[in-house]
Each structure stands twice: as structure tokens, then as C-alpha cells.
């Protein structure tokens, strides 16, 4: 696979070139924080950020996504009484500057939307239309933000500041240029289309990346313990006595779930306007009172402690047991930084991992 190093002066040119082949998305600062947005002509991704406020999961799993529409107007003969699929844009897209944790997160999410039994066509088509160009969390002169953040715990959550899973190429921002390493055919195609094939010595650059990777990993000083989660008895954890105390502060807002790159729950809603309407997928959250509310009116998770427990059991126990693929968390730390009342998944994870039921 190709590894190149390009001058930062040539960067903008490559970005413009790539816009001829892809719709290009990248981090952009609006108001006080960075979010991913489609880059306009002449606009380069702003790589001087710690992480985006929201994960870019909405690129292929929009918060609200129309799937079907209908019409009851007899004057529209071709459409009346027919349920139609809403057409979407699955043209090639490139997302530049996604952090390795987010990219890895989406590989954890995929088995939910794409497995032997079920395939969610909307998620799969949208995800597969994207080329993921990651940005390693390394310190450089122009981004002395103190990366990785002190609340990042990726290395103990099955990920890392240079993790390559889920990425098609990885950008390493160094003081004197960008090293870009292709990881898949999609990534190599991206580099070819950007015409970023500057002189390069792959071995030397790879060694360079490995040094920076080691430095970045050493900067991570926040960890979770997950080694015992798999062997815990599910019902022991479920009925453990720590949930009441730990959930006290939780106000059951959905912030943690909406900012999380691995939270995948959604609801189906119908909305009609006069004689036409749409059916859409809509993010849901285990924090909300309508989550798992049955048609009968019964709700197995009607209280705060039940909803709080659901979030952590899902990520740290049910997922672990069902997929045998580690925890459903990559250690991005967004839920910790943005929780209004300081619920900290690291603490809950460690409590769960070390929990022993009273004899």
C-alpha cells in the first residue's frame, strides 16, 4: 500500500482535486466547536482540533432519515396509494479528518446493521459510499492542543490514537508535512485521485509513523479495566447494588447517547401532512421514557435506574457477550466531557469489571 508525505502547501490543491471525484466532508469550526460538514469549493478541512463535538455517525446514520413516503391525492395518479422508497444520495463521499476512535466505532456498529439475518439497506449503502480518511492523534506544532485528550481512554478500549480499523487511509500530521498511508484499495484510489503521489520512501515513512504512534500511545493516561466483564454472570451485574448510587446524578437526558459514535438505537416514526406522509428512522436513546415503551402501556424500563443500567449493560456486557468483539466503546470520551452531571463511563466500567456479588 502506498505511503506518501506531502507538503502542507500542496494540501489545499489536493483537496480541491479530490472534490472532482467525491463529495468531501471534513471538520469545520462553527461557533465554539468543530463539526463535520461538506466542504465548499476552496474550503480545506480544519485539522486543528481535538475531536469534533459530535461523532460523524450521522453521515450514514442520520438523526432523522426518511425511508418511505406515500400520497393519498387521487389527482396524482402515478403516486396515489403507493408507498415509495425515498431516493438518496449514495454517490462517493470522502470524510477527511475522522479520528481513529470514530472509525473503529463504526466497525463495532456494523454487525447491528449488517449481519446474516438482517441487513439495513440504508445504513449499509450510505456507509459503503464513504471513503474514511483518518487523522491520527499526534502532537504537532500547529495543533498544540495536548493530544490525545486527558479523558481519552482509547488504548484500553480496544482502540488507539493511530488505530487503523475502519479507515481507508490514515493521515499523520507532522511538523513538516502530512504523511498519508493508504490502508485499503479505497484509500489508495483516494490518493490516486487526489494526485498525492509526492516522492516517498514507504519504509522510512512507516518507521516515522510508528515512532509517532508510540509517542501518542504513551501520552494516554486514562484507562478502563475490561478483562473480567465477559466472565461476569449477567444477572449478577444486572441486580448489583451499585446502580442506585451511580445513577443518582443522571438526569436522563440523551446527551451521552447522541454524542456517542457507537450508540445505534433508532425508532421508526410516521408523520403525515394532509394527504401525504413519510416514514423515517429517528435516533432513539435508552435514556428516554418512550424507549421500549410497549403498546400495552407497560415499560420494562420505566425508571431512571433501569434506563441508566441499560446504557452501561448494553455497552459493557450485552455487546461483549453477544459479539465477542470487546466492549461497545472506543474510549473517545465524549460522553464524559459532555455529560452535564459528570457521569463517567470509566468509573462505571471499572466498577462492573471488579464487581463481585455478596456471597
Amino acid at each position: 500500500m502506498k505511503v506518501v508525505k506531502i507538503d502542507k502547501e500542496n494540501w489545499a490543491e489536493g483537496i480541491e482535486k479530490i472534490k472532482e471525484s467525491y463529495k468531501v466532508f471534513g471538520p469545520s469550526k462553527s461557533k465554539e466547536f468543530h463539526l463535520f460538514k461538506e466542504l465548499e469549493k476552496g474550503e480545506a478541512p480544519d485539522l486543528n482540533f481535538l475531536n469534533t463535538r459530535l461523532s460523524p455517525k450521522s453521515m450514514f446514520f442520520p438523526q432523522s432519515e426518511g425511508i418511505l413516503c406515500y400520497c393519498l391525492d387521487p389527482n396524482k395518479k402515478d403516486e396515489c396509494n403507493i408507498v415509495k422508497e425515498i431516493q438518496k444520495d449514495y454517490s462517493p463521499k470522502a470524510i477527511i479528518g475522522i479520528r481513529p476512535c470514530d472509525a473503529k466505532a463504526f466497525t463495532l456498529v456494523r454487525p447491528n446493521f449488517d449481519n446474516e439475518e438482517y441487513q439495513d439497506p440504508y445504513w449499509i449503502k450510505a456507509y459503503d459510499s464513504i471513503t474514511f480518511i483518518g487523522l491520527a492523534c499526534s502532537n504537532t506544532d500547529d495543533s498544540k492542543k495536548g493530544m490525545p485528550c486527558s479523558s481519552c481512554f482509547c488504548t484500553s478500549a480496544g482502540c488507539g490514537p493511530f488505530n487503523e480499523e475502519g479507515l481507508d487511509a490514515l493521515i499523520v500530521n507532522t511538523d513538516d508535512g502530512y504523511i498519508i498511508k493508504a490502508l485499503t484499495n479505497k484509500g489508495e484510489e483516494f490518493l490516486n485521485k487526489a494526485e498525492l503521489s509526492a516522492n516517498s520512501n514507504a519504509d522510512e515513512l512507516t518507521a516515522n509513523i510508528n515512532t509517532l504512534k508510540k509517542q501518542a500511545e504513551e501520552k494516554i493516561n486514562s484507562f478502563v479495566e475490561t478483562d473480567k466483564l465477559k466472565d461476569k454472570i449477567l444477572l449478577d451485574l444486572h441486580s448489583a447494588n451499585f446502580w442506585d448510587d451511580e445513577c443518582f446524578a443522571c438526569i436522563n437526558c440523551g446527551t451521552c447517547t447522541y454524542v456517542c459514535p457507537t450508540c445505534w438505537c433508532f425508532d421508526i416514526q410516521d408523520e403525515n401532512y394532509g394527504d401525504s406522509g413519510v416514514r423515517f428512522k429517528q435516533w432513539d436513546s435508552c435514556m428516554y421514557p418512550l424507549f421500549t415503551l410497549h403498546g400495552s402501556g407497560h415499560n420494562p424500563r420505566s425508571t431512571k435506574v433501569q434506563r441508566f443500567r441499560q446504557r452501561f449493560m448494553h455497552k459493557l456486557k450485552y455487546y461483549v457477550d453477544k459479539y465477542d468483539n470487546g466492549i461497545q466503546c472506543v474510549g473517545c470520551g465524549r460522553c464524559i466531557r459532555l455529560c452535564p452531571v459528570n457521569i463517567d463511563i470509566r468509573k462505571i466500567c471499572n466498577i462492573m469489571n471488579s464487581y463481585e456479588p455478596a456471597a
Binding site: K31, K144, I251, N252, F280, Q282, P340, N342
Partner: protein, 315 residues
Amino acid sequence: MIGYMDKIKEISERILKEGKVDIIVGFRKGSLPMMNEPCVVKKAEDVKNLVWDSNCGINLVNYLTNRKEKIGIIAKGCDTRNIVTHIVENKIKKEQLFIIGVPCTGMIDKNKVASKVDSEIIEVTENENTIKVKTKTNEIELNKTDLLQENCSICVHRNPVVYDELVAELIEEPKDIDRYASVKAVESMSAEEKWNYFEDLISTCIRCYACRNACPLCYCPTCFVDESRPQWVGKGQDKSDIRTFHFLRAFHCAGRCTDCGSCERACPMGIKVRDFTKKLEKDCVELFGWEAGMTLKERPPLDEFKLNDPEDFIY
């Protein structure tokens, strides 16, 4: 305020031991700089975990709703005004509470602190009037008054309105503060400018409902946005549904909001949600001479009818 800590622990321990209360609702130290976690203390030996500093901005009255125990609560000015509102609205009885009153000098806005430095904040320590901020590359000292949450910087009710015991002498309330400068700025806009202002204000809203859930007034058993039979508001990201949520929530708080700032503090997207509620607060002052939570003897103006209620806005 850091100096209140010993007194808070002393009172909490005493009233737990004396059986005056079953639990204390307060804060424990958080896991990030400038974050404390609301907590409940049930045993006298655990009062050592309680903390108090300028990072106790979330309104604790949220945690009183529907509890059955006798509760000791550590309450700053705005918290006590929400306790009054809770009592007036029959959500709780005064006899169920032991209010540990905190004369408050304001809570700091962590976003403001973050904007003063270039790199990630590692540690923040507080003195009486200054805040020391340590980043990965630097260490600076800042004046607390420059870092206050906006609602705290214009607060004129810092002292508790009701309390059973104070942790310190009452402090002098600020005078000559224009509490409604931000509202007046919006009022002076043209209709189009106002529209654009509010569209921009809520443009990043993700409808996580952190503002609603952090609000001590939002205790409805079923919030209007959660009504599903029939559904009152669309669930999606349609702009009209997002507006509806914010407008209706604000109006529901009219005459009840104490401007405690919990909503704004909780918002993960930095939306100034108080821009909605502050206008309604100003209207209540101007139309009814009313400030929420200042007296146990009267109900909020939108909650009752009086013969001298203003009518000139009715056409």
C-alpha cells in the same frame, strides 16, 4: 465559596446524626476539571465526600422531586427559589426539607475558562476570588468575576430565600445591574433579524433534552414532547418541531424560571437557551411585578387570576 466546605460538612453530619434528615443532597468531586457530580449522602461518615466550590451549577432541586425521605439539601440562592416554586406548586412540603443555605458568589462557566487558554485544561484550582488554570503547556491565574456563568454575572438574588441554617453570613446583593441587557438587544431587532437570531441560536440543537432534564421546573410526569397518544410534536429534526420544543418549554417556565442557568450549563452544543426564558422573566417583572420563587405566599402569575392583571396586550 471554597471556605464553606467545612461548615457544610459539619451541618450535614449533625443533622444526619440527629435524625433531622435521612439523606443529604449535595455534590461530590467530579472526574474532570470544573465538574462536580450531584450526589446523595446517607450516612454521617460519608459527609467527607461532599464538596462545594464554583462548579456546583446544576440546580439540585431537580433531585428532590417525588422523593419520600426527609432531605437535607445544600442550596444556593437560585436553588432555594426553586424550592419555593416546588412548595408553592405542591411538589414538596417545607417540613420534608432541611435547607442548608449557601450565600453564593456565582458559578464559573467552563466554556469561558476553556476560551481563555489554547490547549486542554488539566487542572483548575480555586481560591476565594481567583481561579488557577493549568493546561498541558501553561499555567495562568484568572479573576473569577470574568469567568462567571452569564446568569450568575447578572444575579441579584445570591442569598438563599428560605433556609434552616446558613453556612456563612449573608452577602451583599449586587446593585445597579442591568439584568435584561441581552433581552433588550433582541427586542430592538427587526422581525427578520429576530427570526434569524433565533434560527441561528437553535441551529445546532440535537434535541437531546439536556436543557429540559436539567431544569427543576420540568417535572411533568409526561413532557409534551413525549406524548405519543396522540403525538403532539414531531420527533424528527424538522426545524418547526425543534422550534416548537424550545418555544413551548420556555412558555411553560414563564413566571416560574429563576434563571438558575442549569439549562444552558447542561447543553452539550453551547446553545444559549436562556435567551428564551429570560424574555419571559422580564415580561413577568414588567407586567406583574413578579419574580419567581421569592415568596411562599403567592402563586406564579400565570397560575392564577387577579382582577388587576394587565389586559392591554389582549386584542
